[in-house]
């Protein structure tokens, strides 16, 4: 392989300039003004970085909201100076959280984590940055639309943040905004609806871009069954976003009209609220909102998990030095999962008085949808067998994903059975279930992705010691928070209770014994994120100063983003010559390998990259035919 500089600053010269300052020039080689370079960029790599930074900040914010909630849950009614300092006297008089404030924190925690944190990071950041590189494209199909997607997301995020300042505070009717409570809630709920419209728009524009890019811009030789599974995951995810969000958009507009123009889409008749009659025309149906919400809500959770599965697949293949076992099973399962996700939504509504026929229908489809998930997990587990496992930091997170997602998925089964759900619905069991999937599931996968692709984006590896502290600490404390939730749920502790369940005799003992432990775990989890934050910024700043410490392909990976271009990738355009793909994405330890244990996707059969791939200069090079 070509020699790469190690542990020293890049020499000056054309290559260095291109690699380090790759984003600074447009296709004419002219200097772009600062605002078109860093603010309104149309380069998918920079947009991906914008999404990444914004989303990580929102994740931290969402986490902080929950930390405040957990103070209250662990020690209900206790005064905390921190709460008074952060939230102010109005929301936490004397440092004691008000129930109304607790509800706001809860609703916004969910909203921010799902819509402003995880999806923008998994799809907007990872997807945007990697998909064009992995398929051998110069950029996304519609770069200006890509830029617009980011700014709609940013605007939506700002509106959500601003809602905290609305009279009466932010939305406080759960991230699910059920009518009629949400219809009569304070002004913050209207801001929430408007913010959602911006976020949905961002998502729709983004999904169109992803789908056209993947269908149309694959490099020669990159047929669908040679795409890295990460790209397949993003492909299915984009279909989910495209087709599932519009009904929620319709519902959000209807709720907006109910709130602002006093329509009755979701209101059956005049309401009596704390003794006062509020006149609505009536004739509406609160359950209609639930259908419209969950029609998106369920595909949304597959949007949360699919990119994570994609990341884990890439990291596992690379760190076992063998191809994934059952690639076709993975692809088929992902597609089937995406399709099924549209016909299971009412399992969130088993307790709304649905008839037996419709309940059975949704229970059956829910049971069926567990099958592709199990297949994907099985494929990933089997892929470890016989592998030469390298316990790199990304691999640790990817390995932990497997049992954690497994636990989360298994605990979904009693929830999907209507009879068992009678007992478990709206309890902490549900919270435990979905957090296991998203927190030690998706978020761990996203951490794996950050550790894995950081060298690609910056030319520096994150520090391993800090990485291991981050991993082991997070693994321990995240289980400390979420495992007791299953116990609480089975004991009957309900969700969204301001005091954590102690007001109910049947739940009091379990709640008192578990909540403080969980709250301490949560704050410890914050503590072990600090090594990660320090690691991240230290290396990002060093990289911005041009100080690389690894070569172009430090993990010896096969996929195009590693093997066919530089780290960081070249300026707007990605490749000096569009690679021609010769083989599948995971040719590790192939019999055809000569002096290395991997064959890049675009390499000719002697194992060498074709002339012209990567950093070589500009004179015309003949491209090999596929």
């Amino acid at each position: 392989m070509t020699e790469q500089p190690q542990n020293r600053d890049l020499p000056q010269g054309a290559q260095a300039d291109a690699a380090r300052a790759g984003l600074l020039r447009d296709e004419g080689g002219h200097h772009l003004p600062w605002i078109r370079r860093y603010v309104f960029s149309t380069d998918h790599k920079w947009i991906g970085i914008q999404y990444g930074f914004t989303a990580l900040l929102f994740l931290l914010l969402g986490f902080s909201l929950m930390l405040m909630m957990r103070l209250q849950l662990g020690w209900p009614g206790r005064a905390f100076a921190l709460l008074k300092m952060v939230l102010g006297e109005g929301r936490a008089p004397g440092g004691v959280l008000l129930p109304e404030t607790y509800n706001q924190l809860g609703a916004m925690h969910g909203t921010i984590m799902v819509f402003l944190g995880i999806v923008p990071l998994a799809v907007g950041a990872f997807g945007n940055y990697l998909v064009p590189l992995q398929i051998g494209a110069p950029d996304m199909a519609f770069p200006k639309l890509n830029m617009a997607s980011y700014w709609f997301y940013f605007a939506g995020g700002m509106i959500m943040l601003a809602s905290f300042a609305a009279p009466g505070g932010a939305a406080a009717s759960g991230w699910t905004s059920y009518a009629p409570l949400s219809v009569i809630a304070t002004q913050g709920q209207t801001w929430w609806l408007v913010g959602m419209l911006f976020l949905i728009t961002s998502s729709l524009l983004g999904s169109i871009n992803f789908l056209v890019t993947i269908i149309q811009l694959r490099a020669p030789g990159m047929n669908f069954m040679r795409m890295p599974f990460f790209v397949w995951a993003q492909f299915v995810t984009s279909f989910l976003l495209l087709l599932a969000f519009p009904p929620l958009e319709a519902g959000a507009i209807m709720q907006f009209m109910d709130r602002v123009w006093h329509t009755s889409f979701f209101i059956p008749g005049p309401l009596v609220i704390t003794g006062e009659v509020v006149n609505f025309g009536g004739g509406g149906n609160a359950l209609l909102w639930q259908h419209l919400f969950w029609f998106l809500g369920h595909p949304e959770v597959y949007v949360l998990i699919l990119p994570a599965m994609g990341i884990v697949s890439e990291v596992i293949a690379n760190n076992t030095r063998k191809p994934l076992w059952g690639y076709r099973w993975l692809v088929g399962s992902a597609v089937f999962l995406g399709f099924m996700s549209f016909v299971v939504w009412a399992h969130h509504m088993f307790l709304t008085g649905m008839g037996t026929m419709i309940s059975s229908f949704f229970q059956t489809t829910t049971m069926i949808i567990s099958i592709p998930s199990v297949i994907i997990l099985t494929v990933l587990f089997v892929s470890l067998w016989g592998g030469s496992i390298r316990f790199t930091t990304p691999m640790l997170f990817a390995l932990a994903f497997l049992p954690m997602f497994g636990l989360g998925g298994l605990t979904g089964l009693p929830l999907g059975l209507a009879t068992a759900d009678l007992h478990l619905h709206d309890t902490y069991y549900v919270i435990g279930h979905f957090h296991y999937i998203v927190a030690p599931g998706t978020i761990f996968a996203l951490f794996a992705g950050i550790y894995y692709w950081f060298p690609k984006i910056t030319g520096r590896k994150l520090n391993d010691v800090l990485g291991r502290i981050h991993f082991f600490g997070s693994f321990i404390f995240i289980n400390g928070i979420f495992f007791p939730m299953f116990i609480q749920g089975l004991a009957g502790v309900s969700r969204r209770l301001y005091d954590g369940g102690i007001q109910y005799a049947h739940a009091k003992v379990v709640a008192e014994r578990t909540n403080p432990f969980m709250s301490i775990s949560a704050w410890c989890l914050l503590a072990v994120q600090l090594p990660f934050i320090i690691n991240f910024f230290w290396n990002a700043i060093a990289a911005a100063r041009g100080r690389k410490n690894v070569g172009d392909n430090p993990w010896d990976a096969t996929t195009l983003e590693w093997a066919a271009t530089t780290s960081p990738p070249l300026a707007h355009g990605n490749f000096t010559v569009i690679p021609v793909v010769q083989r599948g994405p995971y040719e590790y330890s192939s019999p055809e390998c000569t002096d290395t244990d991997f064959l890049p996707q675009h390499a000719n059969t002697a194992g060498n990259p074709p002339a012209g791939g990567g950093m070589l200069p500009t004179h015309a090079v003949a491209r090999s035919e596929s």
Binding site: F142, I208, L217, L243, A250, S264, G283, F295, G573
Partner: protein, 207 residues
């Protein structure tokens, strides 16, 4: 500066913006607009679904003509159908290389859109005169929601047509095929807006 060469060498041009990709037979913009229209089908489908639900569960629901102006809406239906013809004729003329006639038909489409909105404006004004608001009952709530959202889509299309008549028309002289493609794409969007009205009109006014 040597790095200028590197920047020039990079394959920045995005393929299939004008020409078709061999295996899909599509250019990027056409695939993109159909995907967008698929999402719009879901949006209006959700609204129709809600309308059907609210109507079937209501003890009382007026017949469309009892509350709404059918003759005026019939005129509007024809206006939109005509506008669909003009926009597809615009595209045909551009493909024939006839920019002047193409522009004429784009302008005609814009005028039809304007006429539609003006007539709609009269309808709304009349409703408000009779104190029929979205809050009056769910018949009017769904009427205003569906026609309002549809109207917003009409306005969106009009903005794009205006752009192509003015600043956007410069592209004809730079890259004729690409401009023609863009008119095809906005035409597809416009036909969809017409299509929604084809279902909306009988549902609200005639049933």
């Amino acid at each position: 500066m040597p790095d200028t060469h590197t920047a020039h060498a990079l394959e920045l041009e995005i393929p299939y913006t004008v020409g078709h990709r061999a295996d899909t037979g599509l250019y990027n913009g056409k695939l993109g607009i159909w995907l967008f229209l698929a999402s719009e089908v879901m949006l209006f489908g959700a609204l129709f679904s809600s309308l059907i639900l609210l109507r079937t569960s209501a003890p009382l629901w007026p017949r469309g003509w009892e509350e709404l102006n059918v003759p005026l809406a019939t005129v509007n239906t024809m206006v939109l159908i005509i506008s669909s013809v003009t926009v597809v004729l615009a595209w045909a003329n551009l493909r024939l290389g006839n920019f002047a006639r193409g522009r004429l038909f784009i302008a005609a489409t814009l005028v039809c859109g304007l006429a539609f909105m003006v007539i709609k404006g009269f309808e709304y004004a009349h409703k408000f005169e009779l104190h029929h608001y979205p809050s009056t009952n769910n018949f009017f709530a769904t009427y205003f929601l569906l026609t309002g959202l549809h109207g917003l889509h009409v306005v969106g299309g009009m903005v794009v047509f205006l752009y192509f008549l003015t600043f956007g028309s410069r592209m004809w002289h730079r890259d004729r095929d690409r401009f023609t493609n863009r008119i095809e794409i906005v035409g597809l969007y416009w036909h969809f807006v017409d299509l929604v009205w084809i279902f909306l009109f009988p549902t609200l006014y005639l049933l």
